[in-house]
Symmetry: C2
Subunit: 195 residues, 2 copies
Amino acid sequence: MYPKTFDDLIYEFQKLPGVGAKTAERYAFTVLGWSDEEISELAETLVNLKKKVKKCTRCGNLTEDELCEFCKNSNRNQNIICVVQNPKDISVIESMQQYNGVYHVLDGLINTQKGVLPDQLNIMTLLNRVNERTEEVILALDPTVEGETTALYISKLLEGKCRVSRLAHGIPVGSHLDYTDAMTLLKAFEGRKSS
Amino acid sequence: MYPKTFDDLIYEFQKLPGVGAKTAERYAFTVLGWSDEEISELAETLVNLKKKVKKCTRCGNLTEDELCEFCKNSNRNQNIICVVQNPKDISVIESMQQYNGVYHVLDGLINTQKGVLPDQLNIMTLLNRVNERTEEVILALDPTVEGETTALYISKLLEGKCRVSRLAHGIPVGSHLDYTDAMTLLKAFEGRKSS
Ligand SMILES: [Zn+2]
Ligand SMILES: [Zn+2]
């Protein structure tokens, strides 16, 4: 009933998580009200996204360069590695403003039911990074079955190679790291235990 | 903390209605997971939107042609004109599958407080459309202060020129037309009264 291009846009918006027909329609009408410049801006940003944003060759975090901002920052302790599920979790940890090490992004968690096996995750690169200078690997993974399984798997791999710790309980079991507030997370960091 | 292009995208998504930082971030991560083709598709649709989608020169509805699908459809009664606030309301009325006339899109309602005056709306074009063949003008406007003000204004303009009716009560007062279900709307159409 709407012109094709307008319907196309509604269809596109419905691909976003949690966006149904009504919301997609509302977004499309909003965008229709934008100036040519505003629309081009969004279109260009989308095109640039795939062109410019890639993974840090060392840690797997998002970056527009070879190395991400943490890996190339000499003020960060490059010998303490915090392992996270995805780049979003880094932004939660950074919001504590207390952690001064670097990161390693697994890009998921082991999930045998969904067929996510260790070799599909960024785990071998972690093993290769760890050396005699490595002081600690902190496993900051969700306190879920998948998170625990992954933590256990990595702990075993790193056994005898360096200190491995996990976040203390404090994060409610079954919840997600990126919904945790900075204070709770800070407590979990402070109370972390050897794995 | 994210790469610039990624932050840009989060910023862009926050311009959509009801989208906060967390939701925008979630959308950006979703889009990052799309294939190049999927991203180009959205970008192209956005660019096409302003290029292709324009207003019907007769009724103000959205179209990619000179006239919209209703104005150029000879199976619709071109002498019954349903006046609506915006193109979204047309889709609600069409969902009844009962109305066979055409439309006129005002592109807003008179709102003296917000400085929306009659001459900023698509009202003169309505007056120019109405002629001796016009059987009826149905004012399908929101049952709000602005809707009533606009309906009254148009009724006076068309006085003596043709039959003017308004939707019957049945639509809860203070609510919006595009949140009305098809059955309620059908009842309101059937019970419409002369204005
Ligand atoms: Zn890095
Ligand atoms: Zn039209």
